[in-house]
Amino acid sequence: MYTDKVMEHFRNPRNMGEIPNADGVGTVGNPVCGDLMSIYIKVKDNRLEDIKFKTFGCGAAIATSSMITELAKGKTLEEAMKISRGDVADSLGGLPPIKMHCSNLAADGLHAAIQDYLKKKGANK
């Protein structure tokens, strides 16, 4: 059902964990639906210096979380905001159609973390 790439990320997720004192945190999904994802970011000079995730969910949810950390790390905030759900799925060699909707949340999680960072930064000014 899943591509080898999805399974590889499920087996060996990259950047799994939390960042203590993260600059931004984005939590998306809902355990009721079976997928819940938290993305933690550390920002330096407008770039994603570090990014980590924690995910409750199916194989696709874990693989997309892992993939987005790879895609986003080192990117500027503007570049990271442009990473889409489709980009994540494509980088994994595709997802089963039913998973495109429910488990492909990682881009949303990343965007939420960046917005959280921008909000906090705005509040500190």
Binding site: P13, C33, G34, K54, T55, F56, G57, G59, K99
Partner: protein
Amino acid sequence: MMRRVYLDHAAGKPVDQRVLEALNLFFSERYGNPSSLHTWGNDARKAMEDARAKIVSLVGAKRAEEVFFTSGGTESNNLAIKGVAYRNRDKGNHIVTTAIEHMSVINPCKALMKEGLDVTFVPVDKYGTVDLSSLEKAVTDKTTLVSVMYANGEIGTIQPIREIGDIAHRKRALLHVDAVAAVGQMPIDVERENIDLMSVSSNDIYGPRGVGALYVKTGTRIQPIIQGGGQERGLRSGTENIPGIVGMGKAAEITQAEMKTESRRLALLRDRLIKGLTENIPSSFLNGHPTQRLPDNANVRFSYIEGESLILSLDMLGVACSSGSACTSKTLEPSHVLLAIGLRHEEAHGSLLFTLGKQNTEEDVDYLVNAMPDIVKRLRAISPLTPKELLT
């Protein structure tokens, strides 16, 4: 080579070798149509009636005329529900069933609701046992059919069928029992247990897929849902699936002879599995009834993680099982059975179903029990829901 452990027998069972030998000739050499008058036809008809007699014996029916072959459990359930509902409209327009039935009972009931019939779905308690007082209140003089499964294939809970039959019969309603998960695991006697209609599937007793049967007590008012050439005394048209029927008959014969020993063996394996998982893994729990339980069934939930990731992880180690998670179903909803016993959605998502079978051994169970703690630990480390104290 990696060990391979199949613990998903509710999803599909291997066909017994003796069954394969019995049915094979009916594909290529004994291919007559039982409706034909010539020698080929007589040969097929005789084989079919031999098979029927074995199903009659397995379920405790009185007469051969009470067993009708179908294409499987789903068709048997559809035929029982729609066939009784349509034929008994003069008595009433109400069906009573439960919240934990198989989809092949729930969905025909929902289809009938769209046609204007009333259906009451009676709740179950936290173990999955039908609430008898709710059932008693639900059944009225207008109720034509009460449909309750003998045992639930997902959580294993066995229902008090005789009491349920008494309640139905007091209001002159018929009792249909979906016994697909239970047949072959425990002795069932339709006469003694006052069952009017009962669904049986072939693959669940190690016969081929694509065949099943419906027991219909003599005198029961039912009409066909498939029309055609009038086979099966008009109740189920369509040329009979002779290889399938012969195979199901042989499977019934084997099951009846071996059930007692095999069920006892499976129950021991089941208890070893349940104990091995729930005692070694923190925050893991048995779903379903602790004692009124099918011998082959263990349903265990693991808090804070999701079932599909568990299945994928187990598959990497050669172990096959099922889950109550939405992610493994065709819809996005978790199992209605797990929700009906009061589990929260996230608890249902984290439940695994292990169903044992003939070829499973203690070594298989121990392999699972040894592999599981690390899998759960890894996924809990990834999950944001896991409490800190479980992460050490």
